[in-house]
């Protein structure tokens, strides 16, 4: 019989579970109900007492690791914490959010427990077994996999389950806290580096993703390149709409090749096979080819529209809901005027 262990961690406050963690809790509850399995929730947090209050009634059993050492997302301490929690839980299936914090350590923890791991899981199924769905991007296929080896660790992508929202309660930390033997800690997290507020173009919580493609920096009908104007139009749209900015690989790569570039774009903005996979409700692509290595990064974007001068671009072949064959410079200038008014 299976037993399910959901690992969660706190956000930067150290005392509240992340939304992604709460999504993993939902996934664990659903799986445990389907398999009639025991469910345990594990928490890594500086202040487990406060973090645990959100999941007090999520499952029959809570375990926690707490302390100042676990305030930092750091391989050595997080791996030790997760290993200790997993050994205490003795579960056959371990679920965890595929956050940067847990993606950094979970494969190592699986190895320490003699288990196996699969990542970027988008769905869990199976009538009386555990089956996990993941994409194979380069191969353009979606696969459902299963393993008989145990423990089996599964990292869940964000946005695939609703965040658990149960009644809060008081967690008896003394009863749920477990001891961790920490190795020598040679790494110290010193901070977060982010663009200044008004320069931050990556907005995971925005309703709209705006993607700029390499066409913005190509010669226009007048035979000239208009990179400055492109930059002004794009930034003005982001300010007016609150959209998040994405880019094709070819555009961000131009910066490394000495071509005209949009200075506010970095590789962090890249969407696609070797970029990010955003999850905004709507996406608007401009001056972008719409070919599969880029579009594969759009698979979680709900509604899609594109502006392109190329009537044969990838977007027109079933990749977008609406494609406007038009000059993006002209259209976005008009859009900005309307949004301003």
């Amino acid at each position: 019989m299976e037993s399910i262990f959901v690992l969660t961690h706190a956000d930067e406050s150290g005392s509240a579970l992340t939304k992604h963690s709460l999504e993993a809790v939902t996934a664990g509850r659903e799986l445990a109900a389907r398999l009639n399995a025991l469910l345990t929730i594990g928490i890594v947090a500086a202040d487990a007492h406060r973090a645990a209050s959100a999941v007090m009634h999520a499952g029959p059993r809570l375990l926690a690791v707490q302390g100042e050492a676990f305030a930092q997302p750091r391989f050595a301490s997080d791996a030790a914490a997760c290993e200790a929690l997993c050994r205490a839980a003795q579960a056959t299936i371990v679920l965890a959010p595929q956050s940067s914090r847990f993606a950094r350590v979970m494969a190592a923890v699986a190895h320490r427990l003699g288990g196996l791991i699969d990542t970027h899981i988008t769905a869990l199924g199976g009538a009386d077994s555990v089956e996990a769905t993941r994409w194979f991007y380069r191969q353009r296929i979606e696969a459902v996999v299963t393993r008989i080896a145990r423990p089996w660790f599964l990292l869940l992508d964000s946005g695939t389950h609703a965040a658990f929202a149960g009644e809060a309660g008081n967690a008896p930390v003394d009863e749920i806290a477990i001891a961790v033997e920490l190795p020598a800690l040679r790494t110290e997290v010193t901070g977060i580096r982010a663009p200044k507020q008004d320069e931050q173009t990556i907005r995971p919580d925005a309703k709209l993703l705006f993607v700029a493609g390499a066409g913005w920096t190509k010669k226009q009908p007048d035979g000239q390149v208009h990179v400055d104007e492109a930059g002004r139009l794009i930034l003005a749209f982001l300010r007016a709409s609150g959209a998040s900015l994405g880019s094709s690989k070819s555009l961000v790569d131009q910066g490394g090749e000495g071509n005209s570039v949009l200075s506010f774009l970095t590789h962090l903005n890249q969407v696609g096979q070797t970029g990010s996979t955003p999850r905004h409700a709507k996406g608007l692509s401009t001056c972008c080819h719409g070919e599969e290595p880029h579009v594969v990064g759009w698979r979680f974007i709900g509604e899609r529209r594109a502006i392109s001068l190329d009537a044969n671009c990838g977007w027109t072949r079933g990749k977008a809901d609406v494609v406007y064959i038009a000059d993006a410079f002209q259209v976005m200038a008009k859009v900005n005027e309307l949004l301003k008014s």
């Binding site: 190895h111 296929i141 696969a143 995971p204 609406v322």
Partner: protein, 236 residues
């Protein structure tokens, strides 16, 4: 038709960053440990070997999205443990944080674990090595930000994202020097058989989404803008 093999893009970033770091620190040595069918490795080396100087440690084995990441890590660990004269206390193990083929983000982390490396970083875009051997490292985290950490020094694992360096230009001198050792090394490559580790594929399918695209060729910029603004505002 078979597409030409290429070095995984994030692994390539890792290689170029490693070469740049080695160039700044005399006495450093760069090995490229690569697993793949010998014929594919030879093909990849034709381009990669012209970019930066390194010593190749090849492992003859399967590649792609379907070979098991755990078994791949075991094979690579065995290859690294066999490198003569490698000072593992001074080892900076660079690789891609994920591969474009499998996208698991498992292999490098398990490799580091097998080698007993207790400091690991993923989604790395920058490392700044200090004179005392410590380094500051930037890792990608949620929301388009970087987490900044300081590590006391090697040994460490760095799983690279894109980094900041462009692809080096081809250098025929480097290419000729590399290929003198690469070709005989490839001939001697040990074979790795990768265990499937109980992974079973229940089903495989093509993505279901295929939208009925409305292509508008005759709308004016004003009309398009009005429609877009209305769409953006829906359900906001």
């Amino acid at each position: 038709m078979v597409l030409p093999a290429v070095l995984d893009p994030w692994a390539a970033s890792a290689l170029y960053e490693a070469a740049a770091l080695a160039a700044k620190h005399p006495g450093s040595k760069l090995w490229l440990v690569a697993l793949g069918p010998k014929a594919k490795l030879q093909q990849v080396m034709m381009t990669v070997a012209q970019k930066v100087a390194f010593e190749l440690v090849p492992v003859d084995g399967p590649i792609g999205g379907f070979p098991d990441a755990h078994a791949t890590a075991a094979a690579l660990a065995s290859a690294i443990e066999s490198i003569p004269g490698l000072d593992r206390a001074q080892l900076l193990l660079f690789g891609g944080w994920e591969s474009a083929s499998r996208g698991a983000g498992v292999t490098l982390q398990q490799l580091g674990e097998r080698l007993g490396i207790a400091d690991q970083f993923f989604g790395v875009d920058q490392i700044d090595l200090r004179p005392d051997g410590s380094f500051e490292v930037l890792e990608r985290v949620e929301g388009g930000k970087h987490q900044v950490s300081v590590c006391a020094g090697a040994p460490a694992v760095l799983g690279w994202a894109t980094g900041n360096l462009p692809e080096p230009r081809n250098n025929p001198q480097i290419g000729m020097s590399n290929m003198r050792t690469i070709m005989p090394t490839l001939q001697r490559a040990k074979t790795a058989t990768l265990d499937a580790n109980s992974l079973q594929y229940v089903s495989v399918s093509l993505p279901k989404q295929q939208r009925e695209t409305r292509v508008e060729k005759n709308m004016s910029p004003d009309e398009i803008a009005a429609e877009l603004v209305a769409w953006i505002g829906e359900n906001s």
